[in-house]
C-alpha cells in the first residue's frame, strides 16, 4: 500500500514539488511557538493581575470574563456557522437562573435544589444547550439575519416567563445567587473568612477572579478546539455553502442546530458567571440590550475568531466604565435641565463613536486590526531578509491580504503575505466578502 503515495511512480503531474515545503513547516512551527508564548503571557497576566487591581477593576474583570464566555459562544454561531442570534440574553438568563435555582438553598424563598454549585454550573450550560436545541425547528430553517431577528422574540418571551414564574425566579425582584464553592472552600468572603498567601489577602472577588479565569480559559480552549475539529469544519462549510456542505455528507440542518445548541450552552455558562459576578439576579439584567452587546462584542472584536470575541467582550464591557470613571469628572458638568454637555453624556457619545470608528476603519475588527499591526511590525523588522524565505511560488500570483477575513486574521502567521500590506488589491472575490450572513440579493435573485 505504501507505494500508493510514492509520487515518483505517478506521472509528474504538476511540475512542482509534491512534498511539503520544509521552509514552511519551520515557519509554521515558529509562529505557533510565538502564539503559545502569547497565551502563556496572557495567562501570567490573568493570574497576577488581581494582586494589583482594586475592587472596581476586579469587578469589571469578572463581568468581562462572563461576557467573554458568552461572546465566544456567539462567535461560534455567527462567525463559524454564519448564523445570527439576538436571543442570547435569553439563554444567558436561563443559565443564570438554572445555576441559581440548582445551587440555591432548599429552605430559602424562592427555594432551590441545594445541589453542589459545580453541578449547578454544569446545569447552567446544560439548560442553555437544551433550550438552544428546542429552538432548532427555527434555527435549522432560518438563515443569517432572518434568524437574528426571529430570536429577538426569545428575549421578550423569556423575560415574561422570568417575571411570572416567581416561585422559581423570585419574580421581578429576582433572587440571591448562591456563591460558588467546593467542599470546604467558598469563592466568597466566607469559608475561610480570611485567606492570605504570602501576606496578601484573597477576598471573595479575588477568589472569584481565579475561578472565572479557569472557566474562561477552558471555555475558550474548547471553542478553539471545536473550531478546528470535524464539527467546526462542518459548520464553516455550511456557512460557506449549504449545497456544497450537503454534498460532502454534512447534514446541514443538524449542523445548524448543533451550532445553535453549542452556542446557547456557552451563553448559559456565561449567564451563570454573570450571576456569580452580580451576587443577585433579576429579569432586568437580561434585556435585549445584553443580546445586542454580545453581538457588538463579536463584531467589534472581529467575527469568527475566539480571540476577537475575547477582545471585543473586554472592549464593550470596560470601555463605558473607563469613560465613566474618567469622563464624569470632567469640569464642565452642565446645570441640570439646561441641556448642556456633561461628562456622562460625553462618555456615551464616545462609546457610540468608538463602535462606529472600529467598523469604519478596522477590517476584521479589533482582533483584525491588532493582527495587522503585528504583522506590519514583523514585516518591517524582517524587511531586509524578505523573499529569502521561499514562501511563495515565483510566477504564481502572490497572496492577497491576510487580514481580510477574520478567521485567519487572528493568526497572521498562517497566511504569508510577501507582498506586504501596500500591495494588497482593493477588491476581493465576491463570495469572500460576507462570511457571516448571506447577502440579500443573492437570496432573492437566484
Amino acid at each position: 500500500m505504501s507505494d500508493f503515495l510514492d509520487s515518483s511512480r505517478l506521472p509528474d503531474l504538476a511540475d512542482r514539488p509534491a512534498r511539503r515545503h520544509p521552509a514552511r513547516r519551520v515557519s509554521a512551527r515558529r509562529v505557533s511557538a510565538g502564539r503559545r508564548l502569547a497565551l502563556v503571557l496572557a495567562l501570567v497576566v490573568a493570574l497576577g493581575l488581581p494582586l494589583f487591581l482594586n475592587d472596581f477593576w476586579l469587578q469589571a474583570g469578572l463581568f468581562s470574563m462572563a461576557a467573554i464566555v458568552a461572546a465566544v459562544g456567539l462567535t461560534l454561531l455567527v462567525g463559524t456557522a454564519g448564523q445570527l442570534s439576538l436571543g442570547h440574553a435569553a439563554f444567558a438568563a436561563l443559565g443564570a437562573y438554572a445555576y441559581t435555582w440548582t445551587a440555591g438553598d432548599t429552605g430559602a424563598a424562592p427555594a432551590g435544589l441545594g445541589l453542589p454549585p459545580l453541578l449547578a454550573l454544569v446545569a447552567a450550560a446544560g439548560c442553555g444547550a437544551i433550550a438552544g436545541a428546542l429552538f432548532s425547528p427555527i434555527s435549522g430553517r432560518l438563515r443569517g439575519i432572518y434568524l437574528g431577528l426571529a430570536t429577538v422574540g426569545l428575549v421578550f418571551v423569556s423575560r415574561h416567563v422570568l417575571v411570572n414564574a416567581s416561585s422559581v425566579t423570585g419574580g421581578y425582584n429576582g433572587r440571591r445567587v448562591e456563591p460558588f464553592s467546593v467542599p470546604g472552600f467558598s469563592f466568597s468572603n466566607s469559608e475561610p473568612d480570611y485567606l492570605a498567601v504570602a501576606g496578601v489577602e484573597f477576598e471573595g472577588l479575588h477568589r472569584l477572579w481565579y475561578l472565572f479565569v479557569l472557566v474562561t480559559a477552558v471555555a475558550a480552549a474548547l471553542a478553539s478546539n471545536l473550531r478546528r475539529s470535524r464539527s467546526g469544519r462542518a459548520l464553516a462549510s455550511v456557512r460557506d455553502g449549504e449545497t456544497t456542505a450537503a454534498a460532502m455528507g454534512i447534514n446541514v440542518r443538524r449542523a445548524k442546530a448543533t451550532a445553535f445548541t453549542v452556542s446557547s450552552a456557552y451563553a448559559g455558562l456565561g449567564g451563570a458567571l454573570m450571576a456569580l459576578a452580580f451576587g443577585r439576579i433579576a429579569p432586568d439584567l437580561f434585556g435585549l440590550q445584553l443580546s445586542i452587546d454580545f453581538l457588538i462584542m463579536i463584531v467589534i472584536g472581529g467575527l469568527g475568531s475566539v480571540a476577537g470575541a475575547a477582545v471585543g467582550a473586554v472592549f464593550v464591557t470596560t470601555l463605558p466604565l473607563v469613560l465613566t470613571e474618567y469622563g464624569a469628572d470632567l469640569p464642565f458638568l452642565a446645570a441640570p435641565g439646561s441641556g448642556g454637555l456633561d461628562g456622562a453624556t460625553l462618555s456615551r457619545f464616545a462609546y457610540g463613536a468608538a463602535i462606529i470608528a472600529v467598523l469604519l476603519f478596522l477590517r476584521g475588527g479589533l482582533a483584525g486590526g491588532l493582527g495587522r499591526a503585528r504583522s506590519t511590525l514583523r514585516d518591517r523588522r524582517r524587511a531586509p531578509s524578505a523573499g529569502a524565505d521561499g514562501q511563495a511560488q515565483p510566477g504564481r500570483q502572490a497572496d492577497s491580504g491576510t487580514a481580510k477575513d477574520p478567521g485567519t486574521a487572528k493568526d497572521p502567521g498562517t497566511a504569508k503575505d510577501p507582498a506586504g500590506p501596500a500591495d494588497r488589491p482593493e477588491h476581493e472575490l465576491p463570495s469572500h466578502s460576507a462570511p457571516a450572513v448571506p447577502s440579500r440579493s443573492k437570496e432573492t435573485s437566484a
Binding site: N54, F63, G171, R280
Partner: protein, 418 residues
C-alpha cells in the same frame, strides 16, 4: 502536557508567588484613624467626609437624576458653608451608571472603599444589584426609591414610606375622602417591577380591607399609547384609576380616559407625575381629575424645609426643572446629615457606625419635607406609613397643591413583611 507547557506553568506559578510576596495591596483600607476622638474608617479623613452617589445621568432617568444631583450638591455646599459635619467638609462623589447594572456594580466596587455611605442609588435594576453588595459591606445607602424590598436590607434608609403603602393609602383616600362606594372597581395601571408591582400589592391589600375591587393592567415603559388599557378600564367600569408608571403613561392614560368620557379620579403615586404633563393635551384632564400620593412634600408646599430646598435649588440651577425631585434630594440630604451627626456624636464615623447611627434616628421630618416624623429604629418596618395627598393644579409651581397628609386604615394594617 509537553515540556514547554510544563515549564510555562512552573513559570506562572513562580511569578504569581513572587508578585504576591512583593505586592502591597491597598485593599486593607484607610485604616481606623481616630481624629478628634472619633473612630473613622473608609471615606473619612480628619478634614473630609466623602459620600457617594450612583446615579443615572445618561440613561432614561437622566433628567430627574440631574435635578437631584444639583440639589445634593447645593445642599452639601450649604452644609459645608455652615462648617460641615463633625468638623469635616463633606465631599459628594457622583458616578453615572447610565441605568446599566453591570456598570453600576463595578462603579460601586470602586466607590465602596472610598466613601462612608451612598447618598443615592438610582434605578430598579441597579438597586437590585447594588443593595445586596452594600448590605454585605455594611455600607449606608440612602435614596433608592421606595420599594418594599429595600426594607429587607439593614443598610438601606428609605426616605419616607414604601410604594405599597402609597398604594394602600391611595385606596383609603379614594374611599374616605372621595367617597367611593363599596363594591366599586378601581383600575390600577402599573409597571411590572419593584415600583409598580409593589404599589399594586398595597392597593390590593387595601381593596380587600375596604370592600372594593382592583382591576390591574400591567404595562412596560415601552407602552406610550394606553388607548387599549383605557378602553379596558372603561369596559371594567372603574370608578377611579391608580397609576404607578412614568409620567408619559400617566399623561396618555388620563388623556384617553377623558376622551372616552370616563370622568373619574386618577391617582398617581410618587414618580408618576411630572409638571411637564400640564403643558400637554392631557393637561386639562389631569388638572380636573389628577391626584398624587407621594412620600415627599410637593414642590409648592409651604413648609420651611421645602422652601429651603427650593431656595437652594433655584440658586444652583436657575433654569432647572421644578418637581418633587428637589424636596426629595433635600430630604435625603437631611437624613444623611442627621445620621452623620449621630455617628459623630457616638464617636464612630465608620461605615458601620453610620448605619448604626441611622437606625438610632427617629422623629425627623426635615421641616415638613416628609409626611410626619420618620422613625428608623424598627428594622424591617417603614419609617412612616403616612403620605402626602396632592391635587394636580396648574396654578402652582411644580403642578401639585397639597391637600392633606394622611395615614389610612388599610395602610396602617398593611403587613409590610410577608
Amino acid at each position: 502536557m509537553n515540556a514547554r507547557v510544563r515549564t510555562a506553568v512552573a513559570l506562572v506559578a513562580a511569578c504569581t508567588a513572587a508578585l504576591a510576596a512583593c505586592s502591597t495591596n491597598p485593599d486593607s483600607g484607610d485604616g481606623t484613624g481616630a481624629g478628634g476622638g472619633v473612630k473613622t474608617g473608609n471615606g473619612v479623613t480628619d478634614t473630609t467626609i466623602t459620600i457617594g452617589s450612583l446615579t443615572d445621568l445618561s440613561g432614561p432617568f437622566a433628567a430627574g437624576a440631574a435635578v437631584q444631583t444639583a440639589e445634593f450638591k447645593a445642599y452639601w455646599a450649604s452644609v459645608n458653608a455652615d462648617g460641615g459635619v463633625c468638623g469635616r467638609q463633606v465631599k459628594l462623589d457622583v458616578r453615572d451608571h447610565g441605568y446599566d447594572p453591570q456598570k453600576a456594580v463595578s462603579l460601586y466596587r470602586s466607590m465602596a472603599t472610598n466613601v462612608v455611605g451612598l447618598q443615592q442609588v438610582l434605578g430598579s435594576p441597579v438597586v437590585a444589584a447594588v443593595l445586596p453588595l452594600a448590605d454585605d459591606d455594611g455600607l449606608y445607602v440612602g435614596g433608592m426609591g421606595w420599594p418594599s424590598v429595600a426594607l429587607g436590607y439593614e443598610v438601606a434608609q428609605i426616605p419616607g414610606t414604601t410604594y405599597s403603602l402609597e398604594g394602600a393609602n391611595a385606596v383609603d383616600f379614594l374611599v374616605d375622602e372621595l367617597h367611593l362606594p363599596k363594591g366599586s372597581t378601581i383600575g390600577h395601571v402599573y409597571f411590572v417591577g419593584d415600583y409598580g408591582s409593589d404599589a399594586l400589592r398595597g392597593s390590593q391589600h387595601a381593596a380587600q380591607e375596604r370592600g372594593v375591587k382592583i382591576f390591574p393592567q400591567e404595562i412596560t415603559p415601552r407602552d406610550t399609547d394606553l388607548s387599549a388599557q383605557a378602553a379596558a378600564l372603561r369596559q371594567a367600569g372603574v370608578s377611579a384609576v391608580l397609576v404607578s408608571t412614568a409620567p408619559t403613561q400617566l399623561g396618555s392614560l388620563s388623556g384617553v380616559l377623558d376622551s372616552l368620557g370616563v370622568d373619574v379620579p386618577i391617582v398617581g403615586n410618587t414618580p408618576a407625575f411630572n409638571p411637564a404633563l400640564l403643558k400637554t393635551s392631557a393637561g386639562p384632564a389631569l388638572n380636573a381629575n389628577g391626584y398624587s400620593i407621594t412620600a415627599i412634600a410637593p414642590f409648592s408646599h409651604d413648609a420651611p424645609g421645602v422652601r429651603k430646598a427650593v431656595e437652594l435649588y433655584q440658586a444652583a440651577a436657575p433654569n432647572g426643572a421644578d418637581g418633587w425631585e428637589v424636596p426629595l434630594a433635600y430630604g435625603q440630604g437631611v437624613l444623611l446629615r442627621d445620621a452623620l451627626d449621630r455617628a459623630c456624636d457616638a464617636g464612630d464615623l465608620t461605615p458601620e457606625g453610620l448605619v448604626k447611627a441611622m437606625h438610632s434616628a427617629s422623629g425627623i421630618d426635615a421641616d415638613g419635607v416628609f409626611p410626619g416624623k420618620l422613625d428608623f429604629t424598627k428594622a424591617g418596618q417603614p419609617a412612616t406609613r403616612s403620605v402626602f395627598v396632592s391635587k394636580v393644579d396648574r396654578q402652582v409651581p411644580g403642578g401639585l397643591r397639597l391637600l392633606t397628609t394622611m395615614t389610612g386604615p388599610s395602610a396602617s394594617s398593611y403587613p409590610v413583611a410577608d
